[in-house]
Amino acid sequence: MDTDETRQAEWVRAAVDRYAGPLTRYAALITGDLEQARDVVQDTFVRLCAEKPGTVNAHLAQWLFTVCRNRALDVHRKESWMKPLSEVEMNSQASSDPSPAEHAEQRETASELLGLLAQLPQNQQEVVRLKFQNGLSYQEISKITKLTVSNVGFLIHTAIKTIRQQLKTKPIVEIP
């Protein structure tokens, strides 16, 4: 393996190390299935192997989340014949399922806050997680989700507002 190949391999390994977990969690939010999410993340990194660090590195997180999202939506569309659900419907549906992290780690409890987050429409959950869990900017989220920056801002604003209102009206209790 020459120097370029070595550098390329190290770059991909560093990306796997840094982003595999967050991407798996993100993909699981879309697919609703942890195993499918893992396949999606594998595909994402396999695609990264074909990229040059110089062309992607400046916006690596955005690139990874974009590819991961597109692949996850493909899988979701393909696998959703059992319970047809368009992307639009998915985006506006209030999720009643446990969060991906709960799926992944079989958590027995969730905080009140995460319980409230799980009740938000899927598109709000998605941008909130991209922003607060993955540290992405409005601009990056806009590129990943193909929403406008204003729309991203509105969704996050609405999500925070809803959560704040719910927190004010609900006592803090653990969700069994």
């Binding site: 190949e5 190390d17 893992r38 995460l114 204003s150 801002g153």
Partner: protein, 492 residues
């Protein structure tokens, strides 16, 4: 421009998402609206809470098979099963799942090939002395204020001629409740691996992590270099304590008693939890005391260093390295450690790189209060001096003095102020109040209280998400107190 409290631009402003012109416009508007200012503060608090909660969610693991598939794409002999067997440890995830954490993959691509060189302050007792005899029960593990332990990684190395041998890697860990970790290691790399440009090979490295506040300090003493990162995903350990996720399985129904073993300290019962086709968790519990003696990943059903055919093979020039096993042992509960080992404050003569947004932790805020009181003739000052600026001009005089002319108290005061200015946190108490406490819950009663007075209250506050109040006394001790037990009525 007119804004209302429901304007999404306020959220964008609070989240630092506006560019210069928009930001200035909002700031102008905020000057005229108490309501909007409060809204920004509330949004910031909600955002901080969301970030903290979401950060605490466990990360799913990418299984070995899928990592193999990625690795195969990186090699010219992609698809060759032989190369897959030599999958290097550095590609694996860094300790994010219970298994990953237990395997100590935090070593990452940089693998310790040396032995412990006595550089560590954690090794004052020496490895393998009385630690095993001091192991405690799971409850003790969860309740212990301080814990130290040794993590040994066993890696199979393969030479050019295909011969295999075993390399061991030893890391030392310490934990301080709640949620503080310290790891000491020597950062080196196996032959043939590309140089880690972040931290050079062979460097002694200390990592101190605050899982509660999501901050991590990396110290490289040889370079007098520190990296202080905020809002990071902590990979050293879990917020709830060492291996909390894995230890909870001790109470589960899937645990099986698979036999007993003789150890230097007596017989242990070996409990195993199957965990997929390539892993298991194994807990070695002293058969008499029921204390945890070792925690192995995987268990001896997959790997036992005592019977490894390659264990006595001489080392050669490594070509490949594969993950084998991790054994956590030498647990010492209630270890006698100094709190300063867990401080996320770089030594003053270090160059500091900061990453992410930093906020003042509770401990830092209380330490700062103590330093203010010490400087103010051992008396807690009035609130107006919270940023370290005393109205009689003392601060300026102290700061202008040459270092050698300052008293030790002045020097500590000056160093602390400079530290927070360097971190862009000139008002540490204010920063803590805004980012870590419930609005209007911070109450200061410290003016005139003598430093060391364990009976007098200096302040109280309610941490975000908490149900009780934290009360700080003149000796800087803290008590958790329900609202009804506070001496003044507080808002519910």
């Amino acid at each position: 421009m007119k804004i209302t409290p429901d304007d999404p631009r306020l959220t964008a402003y609070a989240l630092d998402e506006l560019d210069g012109a928009e930001r200035e416009a909002i700031e102008t508007e905020l000057q005229n609206s108490d309501e909007c200012r409060r809204e920004v503060e509330e949004i910031s608090r909600a955002a901080a809470l969301l970030s903290a909660e979401l950060a605490a969610e466990p990360l799913p693991e990418l299984p070995y098979a899928q990592q193999l598939a990625i690795e195969a794409k990186l090699k010219p002999d992609s698809g060759n099963t032989e190369s897959r067997r030599h999958f290097p440890i550095g590609v694996l995830l860094k300790g994010r799942s219970p298994i990953g954490r237990a395997l100590g993959f935090a070593a990452g691509a940089a693998v310790l090939v040396g032995i412990w060189l006595g550089l560590s302050s954690l090794f004052t007792a020496g490895p393998g002395t009385t630690a095993l005899a001091q192991t405690q029960t799971l409850e003790q593990m969860q309740k212990a204020q301080f814990i130290t332990w040794t993590q040994t990684l066993y890696n199979h190395l393969t030479g050019e001629d295909g011969q295999k041998w075993v390399s061991t890697v030893t890391n030392r860990y310490a934990y301080r409740a709640p949620g503080l970790y310290r790891k000491e290691e020597i950062h080196t790399q196996p032959p043939g691996w590309p140089e880690d440009r972040e931290i050079g090979a062979g460097k002694f490295m200390i990592t101190i992590a605050d899982t509660v506040n999501r901050r991590e300090l990396t110290l490289i003493p040889a370079e007098k270099r520190a990296i202080l990162a905020a809002d990071v995903t902590i990979t050293i350990g879990e917020r709830e304590g060492p291996y909390a996720s894995s230890m909870k399985y001790l109470k589960g129904d899937d645990l099986r008693l698979v036999g007993t073993r003789k150890t230097p300290t007596g017989e242990v019962n070996v409990f195993r939890l199957p965990s997929g086709p390539r892993h298991s968790l194994e807990y070695w519990i002293d058969s008499k005391t029921k204390n945890l003696v070792e925690f192995r990943v995987p268990g001896t059903d997959f790997y036992d260093p005592d019977t490894d055919p390659a264990r006595n093979n001489p080392p050669g020039k490594a070509r490949m390295m594969g993950p084998t096993a991790c054994i956590n042992s030498d647990f010492v509960f209630g270890a006698d450690l100094d709190d300063s080992l867990f401080r996320l404050v770089p030594p003053p003569d270090y160059t500091v790189e900061t990453r992410g947004r930093l906020h003042v932790t509770e401990k830092e805020m209380i330490d700062f209060l103590g330093i203010l009181a010490d400087y103010n003739d051992k008396t807690f000052p009035e609130r107006s001096a919270f940023a370290g600026v005393f109205s009689d001009g003392r601060t300026v005089k102290s700061m202008e003095k040459p270092k050698e002319d300052r008293t030790s108290v002045e020097q500590k005061f000056a160093e602390t102020l400079q530290h927070y200015v360097k971190m862009s946190l000139p008002d540490p108490i204010g920063d803590f109040r805004v980012h870590s406490t419930v609005e209007n819950s911070f109450r200061y009663l410290g003016k005139g209280v003598r430093l060391g007075d364990a009976e007098s209250i200096v302040c109280w506050y309610k941490l975000n998400g908490a149900k009780t109040y934290r009360v700080v006394y003149g000796d800087l001790s803290i008590k958790d107190v329900p609202p009804e037990d506070l001496p003044l009525r507080v808002e519910p």
